[in-house]
């Protein structure tokens, strides 16, 4: 395997821009995300050849073309599977998957959940715009019930997926959410994802200004509706931090008025809680149900990592049996010699 020089490299956002012209629609939320990620990349402290972006199909999936790293624009939905093969054979690389709501949750749903439950060392960024953009405006698996699109003129009949609930249900060890235009919040989440060893799942709320404009305006435009989750701190939000999150005896969460409920009754966030139920309950807080959207890290739990486990098996097999020798393999079992 080729090795980098191992030195800490000082790079800037510019070093991560490829020579390819970016071709998303003017005003697309993907531009903001690209800028944030290019700006974040130097924080990895890795030289560019150690970084790989793998994507599937869709608007978001064009992402690798614009990164001056190694990259593969692959097949619809299959990026987690392809990235798994790369990551387990090359633990020296930082492997990122860029996907969308259709790519990850519809055609690629199976690969996503299995990559997450295996805890492969992948950073999976799901750009969720709640619409099919590249195919020009059909509803997606995250579109709201009743959504009128080109393929649902009378309204969608599909109950939507909540991407974070899916990821937590799939035993993901790291789950977070960020907003395309929120540079600070997105950068923090990317940093936490990069530091997490194992699968890191990040939903990025992304505006499609052509086919689903304004889908996230309630949090994009109104910062008071953003619940920034901070590990170890009571969950409060609003312009004056006047609202908070309380846990009920049945485990469900509700948004309450802090003045009424009292600060001490608010739930303290714990990203490393061994039970996934807290993170799951947080994922159920939506603008539709509670008038606010949690952002930040929902869950970050250290779990055995698939790549490491596989390497350990190889190492222990070699230790127990010595490096495999072809002559011995071919002669294993009953042999006989003719002279």
């Amino acid at each position: 395997m080729a090795e980098g020089n191992g030195n800490l490299v000082q790079l800037t956002a510019k070093d991560f821009k490829s020579d390819q012209e970016v071709r998303w629609c003017p005003g697309c939320g993907d531009y903001a995300i690209l800028n944030v990620i290019q700006g974040f990349m130097p924080e990895l402290g890795l030289s560019r050849e150690r970084i790989v972006f793998v994507s599937g199909i869709g608007c978001a999936a064009r992402f690798p073309y614009y990164m001056q790293t190694y990259g593969m624009h692959s097949i619809h939905g299959r990026a987690p599977a392809i990235a798994t093969g790369l990551a387990v054979t090359r633990p020296d690389l930082s492997v990122w998957v860029v996907t969308g709501d259709g790519d990850a949750l519809s055609i690629g749903g199976n690969h996503l959940i299995h990559a997450l439950r295996r805890n492969v060392n992948l950073k999976i960024l799901l750009f969720n715009n709640r619409i099919y953009g590249l195919t020009k405006g059909q509803y997606s698996p995250t579109s709201e019930l009743g959504k009128v699109t080109k393929s649902t003129p009378l309204g969608s009949l599909d109950h939507p997926f909540n991407p974070l609930s899916v990821a937590i249900g799939a035993e993901a060890s790291f789950v977070a959410r960020a907003l395309d235009t929120d540079k600070k919040g997105l950068t923090e989440v990317l940093g936490a994802a990069a530091r997490h060893r194992g699968s890191a799942f990040v939903e990025i709320l992304q505006n499609c200004n052509i086919y689903n404009d304004g889908a996230f305006d309630v949090v994009r435009e109104n910062k008071g509706n953003r619940i920034y989750l901070q590990h170890g701190e009571r969950i409060r939000f609003g312009e004056e931090a006047e609202r908070g999150v309380q846990q009920y005896p049945d485990g469900s969460l509700r948004v309450v008025d802090v003045a009424e409920a009292g600060e001490n009754s608010l739930l303290a966030h714990d990203v490393a809680h061994p039970q996934a139920s807290l993170a799951f309950a947080l994922s159920r807080i939506t603008y539709e149900t509670d008038g606010a959207v949690p952002l930040g890290v929902f869950r970050a739990l250290e779990q055995p990592v698939y790549d490491d486990l596989m390497k350990e098996q190889l190492d222990s097999a070699r230790e127990a049996r010595g490096e495999g020798e072809l002559h011995a393999l071919l002669h294993s079992g009953d042999t006989w010699t003719v002279t």
Partner: protein, 616 residues
């Protein structure tokens, strides 16, 4: 152990062991085969079992069989007709008696011929008693009760477990009858059941009791000796197609210096390769049992992008799901070996039965112009060389390669002269390490000779690049919708694969007599065609044979060979797929012999077909 009874000498024998799928017939057949291999006979085997793990006991669909053909000379097939049938119950007799040669021997487990089992098998009366087996020599043997009797007094062995040792009794009897060495089986029992010493004792005792029964029972007047076959000097082992394929992949990893990554999803009859590779982690082999066939191939391609020897294994119903990955590999121009252990279809078909009907699928079962080289194994041991060849082409030309085997090769076995590791072909792996256009790296600038593009793996400084499923501009690899560029890229990908013809052996023809008729084959029909040609020649007729190991591209002299003969016959276990290709590509009016029964051709039927064409 040596017999004191008279000994008759035979040139060859075909034995079929048959019983319930829970009776251990595959194990019994395997052991008999190992003894036979060690003894030095040439041999070929044909396991034939149902897809059901335990079909209802005593039923016709639950019958599992194992046929072994062994001889004092070189043989090519598992035999058309068994000369000996070991029937563990009435259903096994019913299913197999029709195949037995007239005058053949039947050894029947009389304990299982009770009213209930006879009824389940559809017998109105007991065939062992009603004279309906008059054409055969029937040896009624109370296998079950004698086994239980022999095992009395072993502590910890229930009478049910004792009864289950009857297959070793049968094996012991057959080992006596055909002078098989027994040490290997005793050693096998000791290691296989090491965790349960009482079972070791039970099986060993049953095995010896069977041998002793042959020696003492008046029912068996004599035993048979089949002299070892003269074979070239060297060290041999018995090998099945799936094991040979597994070893070939490991060898390719060693020869190329690339770590082996297998992405697979369990499927009959390919699962052995996954299971066996999973046991070879000390070779640095990574096996990934994926969530589905698609992920299995995707992960293998991802590993290949990172510089591994990426392999995915499956059978037809799984290969269809991998089509999109193969298409991506075609346009990414990365090495990938896709193994298709063919089985009878369409759809789920007959999972344990062989067929050769995936050829057109692997050639054309993708969207657009998507050329992929195809290598086919023709014998169980040949799966070893075919795997190395598939990997060699994949790595050298940076292309996906299909490797075709089938259920017959996968499970069948034969003696194998173990090759010297140093004699195996080299697989040169060259990773790009430097820019190839001044300071720039052009990921699609091709090697002038092979037309392969550089393989620059992540981690290589300065060669960062992006590849993808969108059409790429020649040389730069940038996304391109330019019409002329697309036409050029389609032709370049086709030319690269076509050019491999210069790098593979010419088609060899076996034509000792100067024949007018050529029989052209591919895949597992090799043995049957060879055996049939011997019969045709023995009848005084002339026939030539040739066998294709590369189906895309064809060997460079294929057209020349075909046109040199007046008549061409192409036998296939499909409805004429190679025939269609040959007719289209070479405008040769080849005839077909096509049977799609889920079983290999018999040499006799093929010989008849050839003779009919020769005489026409």
């Amino acid at each position: 152990m040596a017999t004191s009874k008279p000994v008759e000498h035979l040139e060859r024998v075909v034995i079929r062991f048959a019983g319930d799928s829970g009776d251990g017939m595959q194990l019994t057949g395997d052991r008999f085969t190992s003894e036979t291999a060690v003894f030095g006979n040439d041999l070929a085997t044909l396991p034939d079992f149902p897809a059901e793990i335990r079909a209802p006991a005593g039923s016709l669909p639950g019958v599992s069989g194992f046929q072994v053909h062994f001889a004092d000379h070189d043989i090519l097939t598992p035999g058309d007709q068994p000369s000996v049938l070991v029937a563990m119950n009435p259903a096994a007799l019913k299913v197999n008696a029709g195949d037995l040669a007239k005058g053949g021997m039947i050894i029947a487990n009389t304990d299982a011929f009770n009213d209930r089992n006879l009824q389940k098998a559809g017998y109105e009366s007991n065939p062992l008693e009603d004279g309906s087996l008059g054409d055969f020599h029937v040896h009624p043997v109370a296998l079950s009760s004698m086994t239980v009797e022999a095992l009395k007094g072993i502590e910890g062995v229930t009478s049910r477990e004792a009864e289950r040792s009857k297959n070793f009794f049968a094996l012991g009897l057959m080992s006596w009858l055909y002078h098989r060495p027994v040490e290997g089986t005793i050693g096998f029992i000791e290691s296989k059941f090491a965790k349960r010493p009482e079972i070791v004792e039970a099986n060993t005792r049953a095995f010896r009791a069977g041998w002793n029964y042959g020696e003492t029972s008046e029912d068996f007047a004599s035993s048979y000796e089949i002299a070892p076959a003269p074979t070239p000097p060297g060290t041999y082992r018995q090998i099945s197609g799936n094991t040979a394929l597994t070893y070939g992949l490991v060898a390719a990893s060693k020869l190329s210096g690339l770590p082996l990554f297998l992405g697979a999803y369990p499927i009959t009859p390919a699962s052995d390769v996954l299971e066996q590779l999973a046991g070879l982690k000390h070779f640095g082999v990574r096996t990934f049992q994926a969530e589905d066939e698609i992920a299995a191939s995707g992960a293998a391609l991802g590993a290949a992008f990172g510089g591994a020897l990426g392999v995915t294994t499956s059978a037809g119903p799984g290969i269809v799901l991998k089509s999109e990955t193969v298409g991506l590999a075609v346009t990414l121009e990365l090495p990938l070996v896709i193994v298709d252990v063919q089985r009878a279809g369409p759809s789920t078909g007959m999972p344990t039965k062989p067929e050769q009907a995936d050829l057109l699928m692997v050639l054309f079962g993708r969207n657009s112009e998507s050329p992929v080289p195809v290598v086919a194994a023709s014998t169980p041991s040949g799966c070893f060389d075919a795997a190395i060849e598939a990997a060699r082409i994949a790595v050298k030309y940076r292309t996906p390669v299909f490797l075709l085997s089938d259920a017959y090769l996968a499970n069948g076995s034969e003696p194998w002269l173990i090759p010297d590791v140093d004699s195996l072909p080299a697989i040169d792996t060259v990773f790009a390490t430097e820019p190839n256009d001044g300071d720039r790296f052009l990921p699609y600038r091709r090697d002038a000779e092979t037309l392969a593009r550089p393989w620059a793996i992540p981690g290589t400084p300065g060669l960062e690049h992006r590849i993808g499923g969108l059409e790429k501009e020649d040389e730069t690899g940038n996304v391109s919708y330019d019409p002329e560029n697309h036409d050029r890229m389609v032709r370049l990908r086709a030319a690269k694969v076509a050019g491999i013809a210069a790098d593979i052996p010419a088609l060899e023809v076996d034509d000792p007599d100067g024949a007018d008729t050529l029989v052209l084959g591919w895949g597992s029909t090799y043995g049957a065609i060879g055996a049939a040609a011997r019969r045709v020649r023995a009848s005084g007729r002339k026939v030539a044979t040739a066998h294709l190991h590369h189906l895309n591209p064809f060997p460079r002299n294929t057209g020349e060979v075909l046109r040199a003969y007046e008549k061409v016959l192409i036998p296939e276990m499909n409805l004429g797929q190679l025939r269609m290709l040959v007719r289209a590509q070479y405008l040769v009016d080849a005839a077909g012999y096509n049977k799609v029964r889920g079983r290999p051709f018999r040499a006799a039927e093929l010989a008849d077909a050839i003779m009919a064409l020769v005489d026409s």
